[in-house]
């Protein structure tokens, strides 16, 4: 096949974005059909490129080693396929959910543009090209959040833009350092040992990657967006696309661009960020009272597992991290789409107002439950398999603390999903929402597809592990070591699996206790933990955005600016406005005195001046 085929996943959605934008808002059916058809074409492209595996394209672009350079290989082909799959599901879902959105033309345009940029970022084989596509996604993210049309939507959009900008600028810095030390910008030619300056480059690039994935502390816009942005955006960006991209890049940084060694300082950095993200975000998720916001905190917490997995720098851990990425994208998208389905029918996602919807919305309830069990790591779903791999890797690093953090995360993940599922779909039927029925097929179908995928990837884990994951880590195993990830992946009778199951039981106990304490109201099940002494104060501070890097950062920027303005800029202006002017005035007054109105005086000045002029000219002519 022609190498230019590689440009199709980028150009096609970009062109479709323009076409979909130009179709007048009134013509609904044509746009929806066209959007779904294009996403099917994208899926087809994704499949055919995945089967193709190896392809590259390189032409000159800006000179100086900045080339228009694309490369398809097993990893990027896998991510490309995944991206197009999620695009298809979300577009299908949007045909109903976003049907009456007043700015629907923009919506599809941004979604397809984001897809084009994401595909470009995945295929790029030149760092500048990568940053170009990578950072361009920011604008589509920004625009999609504003489509939430809430009063605070734009604020959140700017927040995402500035946090994203911070991460991407740090990535540019990292790329610059890589360029300065290796002299090349071609991605597959870079392989550094992360020490000294290269370590700084590693950290800076990593910030770009985990920032996109939404790890702490670059996560704070996601919970805000959960309320301010359309729910389809949440399923599209933070749940699937950004995770896939961020973890893809992180994996490439740790495996390809740099050589991450087990227990090395850089690996420790990743492990710490991963563990902190898991634990802190899951504690925030636990106490949320809104389904979408609860899900958004899990979208952050789960990134922790992926980063932790990659940070172990052990093949099984890395594989677990990457496998967790794809699994997470599936169940988290499924969960957000179920939340959207509930919102679609009832108009709310507040846990307090919902309850007992399982009878009226059985398919949504089924999809939600499967995805929720998957994210909690219940046997034999996909989440179980990938989490076990991460636990395994974390233990093998020799620092059990990271495995413990991961297990703590597992406890509260399950507890919060018990709470969420219990409050929305089970328990007594709430009286606050009127009687309703199941959502349309194009909403339910994506959810069910994702739920079935969660089961498939769990029960038949051999399929994804051998086709997608194993090839990626194969090159990084010890020579002669054969990796068979699928063997024993579902084994329940190992110590690690035992601990995991114990965690689930603890979660069940916690939920039951909280439910009892809260007067059998499921949405209050997390209150006992919420009200724990020290934790309570921390929760309050966090609700007041005290730990929000953006809020504090913006305050800092404003303060710094005021200082610079007040103590440097204004004093400089003072010199011109006041000092210079008064000196000028002083001399004016002085010279005024020379004008006394007498002829002799003026004559003397004139002759004196003439002599000076002549002297200067003579001097110059010499």
């Amino acid at each position: 096949m022609m190498a230019t085929t590689l440009l199709w996943p980028i150009i096609f959605p970009a062109v479709m974005a323009i076409i979909l934008f130009l179709i007048p808002a009134r013509i609904k059916l044509v746009r929806e059909v066209l959007a779904v058809l294009s996403s099917v074409v994208m899926l087809y492209l994704g499949f055919s490129l995945f089967l193709l595996k190896n392809l590259s394209l390189k032409t000159n672009w800006l000179g100086m080693g900045i080339n228009f350079d694309f490369r398809l290989y097993q990893f990027s082909a896998f991510i490309l396929l995944a991206l197009s799959g999620f695009l298809f599901l979300i577009v299908l879902y949007s045909t109903i959910k976003m049907k009456d959105h007043p700015r629907i033309r923009e919506y599809y345009a941004y979604v397809f543009l984001a897809a084009a940029f994401s595909n470009g970022a995945v295929l790029a084989n030149n760092f500048v090209l990568l940053v170009f596509f990578w950072e361009a996604i920011l604008i589509t993210t920004y625009a999609l959040i504003t489509l939430g049309l809430k009063p605070t939507s734009h604020r959140t959009a700017v927040k995402s833009l500035i946090i994203g900008g911070l991460c991407d600028f740090s990535m540019i810095m990292g790329i610059g350092l890589i360029w300065a030390s290796t002299g090349t910008l071609t991605m597959d030619q870079v392989h550094l040992e992360p020490y000294g300056l290269a370590a700084a480059a590693f950290i800076l690039m990593m910030i770009g990657a985990i920032g996109k994935a939404g790890a702490m502390p670059f996560h704070t816009w996601i919970p805000d967006a959960a309320l301010d942005a359309p729910v389809t955006f949440m399923a599209f960006m933070p749940a699937s696309f950004e995770k896939l991209l961020g973890i893809y890049l992180l994996a490439r940084i740790s495996l390809d661009f740099f050589e991450l060694k087990v227990g090395s300082p850089m690996a420790m950095v990743l492990l710490i960020i991963g563990a902190a993200t898991i634990v802190l975000a899951v504690f925030m998720a636990l106490i949320q009272k809104d389904l979408k916001k609860l899900l958004s905190f899990h979208a952050i917490s789960q990134v922790g597992y992926m980063i932790l997995g990659i940070g172990t720098a052990i093949p099984i851990g890395i594989a677990g991290g990457i496998f967790h990425m794809i699994n997470h994208a599936m169940y988290k998208t499924g969960l957000f789409l179920s939340a959207g389905s509930v919102e679609h029918r009832t108009g709310t996602t507040e846990l307090k107002k919902l309850g007992g919807l399982a009878r009226e919305m059985p398919w949504t309830a089924f999809g939600f439950s499967v995805c929720a069990l998957a994210i909690s790591g219940v046997w034999p779903l996909n989440g179980f398999v990938s989490k076990e791999m991460v636990f395994h890797g974390a233990l093998e690093t020799g620092y059990p603390i990271f495995a413990i953090a991961a297990w703590v995360g597992a406890i509260f993940t399950f507890a919060s999903f018990l709470k969420a599922g219990h409050s929305v779909f089970f328990g007594p039927r709430s009286t606050e929402v009127p009687k309703t029925r199941e959502s349309q097929w194009s909403i339910v179908l994506p959810i069910l597809i994702l739920a079935i995928l969660c089961i498939t990837f769990g029960v038949y884990n051999k399929l994804p592990l051998e086709n997608f994951i194993q090839p990626v880590v194969a090159g990084h195993a010890e020579p002669g070591q054969h990796i068979d990830l699928a063997a024993g992946a579902l084994n329940l009778f190992t110590p690690i699996a035992g601990v995991s199951m114990l965690c689930l039981l603890i979660a069940l106990g916690l939920h039951f206790y909280g439910w009892k304490q809260g007067g059998k109201k499921a949405y209050l099940a997390s209150e006992p933990i919420h009200r724990l002494p020290v934790l309570h104060q921390l929760y309050d501070l966090s609700e007041a955005r005290f730990f929000d890097i953006y809020e504090q950062g913006v305050k800092f920027l404003a303060w710094l600016s005021r200082m610079l303005f007040k103590f440097i800029d204004r004093p400089i202006d003072f010199i011109y406005e006041k000092v210079v002017v008064s000196i000028g005035r002083f001399f004016t007054v002085l010279f005024q005195k020379a004008h006394n109105g007498q002829y002799g005086n003026y004559l003397a000045w004139t002759i004196g001046g003439l002599i000076v002029v002549v002297w200067v000219i003579l001097k110059l002519l010499q």
């Binding site: 800006l62 920011l138 740090s170 540019i172 600016s561 800029d569």
Partner: protein, 476 residues
Amino acid sequence: MKVETITQLIIFIPLLGSLLVPLAGAISPKLRSFWSVLIGGITAFLPLTLITQALKGGEILWSKRLALGLDFVLIIDPLSIFMSIVSSFIGFLIIVYSLGYIHHEEHQNEYYLMVVMFIGSMMGLVFSGSLVFIYLFWEIIAIACWRLIGFYRQKDYVLKADKAFLMTFGGAVVMLLGFILIYAQTGTFDLTAMRGVAIPGSAVLLILFGLFSKSATVPLHTWLPDAGVAPTTVTALLHAAVLVKIGVYAYARLFLYTFKIPAAWQQAVIIMAVISSLIAAAGAVVENDIKRILAYSTISQIGYIFLGLSVANPTAVSGSLLYILMHGLAKAGLFLCAGIVIHSTNKRDIREMGGLIRTMPMTAISFLICAFSVIGLPPLGGFFSKLLVIMGAIKANQIWVAALALFTAILTMYYLMRVFSLVFLGELKVSAPEKTPSMVGVVTVLALFSVLAGFFVSYPMKLVQLATTHITWWLR
């Protein structure tokens, strides 16, 4: 036509044509508008015909002997051609926009006279290869600038115009001393005869006064925010097309193309540029007047251009030259959008505006696109210029400078998004319709160009690369 003839036409058509503006105005305002647009159009079109010459690389020198060694020398190389295309094109768009903006004001004869002469002397300065003529055009520009900033004639406005004039003039006089020092050393004003000459730090310092005052770099910058009292078209002209780009252009012409300067001074400029950029960005965060914010933003962006030029490796220099184009397009767009807003609401404090996206959607979207370009977000053009400057700085081992420059980029993002949110979003405080088609059309064109310049960056980049290899000949 010969390249030299075209170049002379580029300079003299607007310079002489501007003098006929009052005559046309005396006949009818329509004729005056037509004449100004015509002259502006020709001046914008002619440099485009030089692109083929630029793509050949190399340079054409032309000179006319005049008395006292004050030869009139023209340098026609990719750098001057690139610069003339950018300036005249943006200048032309601003003339078109003026038709709507200025049409009910007094003194229109003088306005168009000065604007066209402004562009003409810019063309003269760009192609001049002699220190004397650079100084001459430099001061014509200062005078035109002085008249235009004080266009509204209020007492305090005129004072601001005086401030701008005196500061830039003061800088230019000091620069002239530097020129004389160089003359004393080499005995010529002809740049083409002095290539590769090492000049002492004292001359560099004196000349830098001129460059920094014209290009509004800290600590010689405070006249630029104050010059915001001018009509917005003039501000756009000063910021995007002509005035503040003179300093950076002259830097490239004098300190890269012609002279060798001491390494310590090069490092000093690097540091001053990045500090200027940061302090100005801070000013933009603090200010509330939309034009002052944009003015500080210009100072901040000029810092990047100086940074790239003073780093002086091919990456950074080509980034800087590209920056002149990208910043010109985007900043002109921002100012002209601000002009529409100010014109319709009669307000300049962004805290008193709000919700204008509902009544003027095209302006709002153009503003946002141009803002993204200034911030340096892909896929817009500003991304590449900023990226190249910063990558160049890192490659030259200026790691902390690059980090500071990126930090400034975050500040840029912060203040521009603040302006956008306050002016165009939130509740509608002053309802005002969008303005005439010529005004909205121009801002849309500028926004569109910012987008196209991003997607098709390889075309301007080709020219920029040629200019870079040409002026950094000493690297070969």
